[in-house]
Amino acid sequence: MVERSKVRVVIAKPGLDGHDRGAKVVARALKEAGYEVIYTGIRQTPEQIIETVIQEDAAVLGISILSGAHMVLIPKIIKLLEERGIKPNEDIVIFAGGIIPPDDAEELKKMGVAEVFGPGTPLRTVIEFVDKAVQNLKRFKA
């Protein structure tokens, strides 16, 4: 099992939505679980988010979107990460939360998002998901 306090998690809110309660609650829950969590604040561009991931050397990226723009913003973030040589599920675990319809969630998973959480997800589910997902990252296998 990977030591939680050595896993750095970035919680990001891309785009023009200011509804940050969910992001903050998840950030707080992961902190209480023992993770090191970096919160970006609201209204972030995909470029700002991937720069944060890089400079903070994050192993996990949680993206919170409630604006409906997830099919634009999340693929853009993944594309920018890949351009910098950061591969989803190998170098980083990406998960999303917010109002994301099931069809879109399926599509996002094909692109490399490891999990999509909707409203009402118990915090324990998110923590258990992160615990498990990071085990497969290259950096923790070496």
């Binding site: 919160y39 604040g41 944060t52 903070e56």
Partner: protein, 322 residues
Amino acid sequence: MESLDSLVQSALSGDKKAIARLITLVENDEEKAREIIRRIYPHTGRAYVVGITGPPGSGKSTLLDKLIKLARNEGHKVGVIAIDPTSPFTGGALLGDRLRMQRHSTDPGVFIRSMATRGSLGGLAKATNDAVKVLDAAGYDLIFVETVGVGQIEVDIVKTADTVVLVTVPGLGDEVQAIKAGLMEVADIFAINKADREGVEMVHLELKMALEFEREKWKQIGWEPPIVETTAFTLKGVRPLWEAIKRHRKHMEESGRLRERRAFRAREEVKTIIASTVARKVEERLERGEAGELINEVVERKLDPYSAAQIVMEKLKEDLWR
């Protein structure tokens, strides 16, 4: 995983991914830290380090955001290490300093790294020093280290910076007392932030009075810490603060005090490395079965703790000189 050599080469050429990974390694792994620092040390020594400390919520990060802007305008490449506390109960941390500086995150000339205090005093001081060296070697010539200045740990970390800025705010009441008690000596510059609030004259006066006591000392060294009133949000006073930092740097360089302070820093660093290595070896020794027997003897009053320690220390020699 890339080899350490190629990672170091990439970091020296400015690759942010490699820089970030090196910081993770020096923070997590003592053996790797030793390897990495040995390789990059010849490339360090160019950066000027500014420590910023003050109570939680005093606006350090917001002030820093504005200072980064001014420093960038003058052509500096800026590194930031922003330290926030680890929860002593869960080991987790919520690092939010970065949030106030996010507009700089896509600037190629800025590197911001959040760091948690984690366990020990020695550990954090070592991780901070090492992270500063990584940024220095990668070409960041001005490095800010931001800590919450409440505990001795944080004070110990900033006091080795080339210039130390202490941020306070009006209306904290006892805060000035706390500053007088431990922080007064380490500050080169005082910033009273949120100076649009009521009570700013009072804080100013109290700081001034506290500084009065040290007047002779200031005279002798040729630097009297300025008190700058700032309102980070509206930028008021931020430029004067930046000018004060530059003035202090000039003073440090011209008076020879920079050399002195860096000698102090180097001494503290060597001391921290020795202390943490010894502490780790002691733990390892005490984990062993034979130590358990000794401890039992102490419990049963067959042996006193000093004699037990003496026996363990004899054995420790082997561990340290291996």
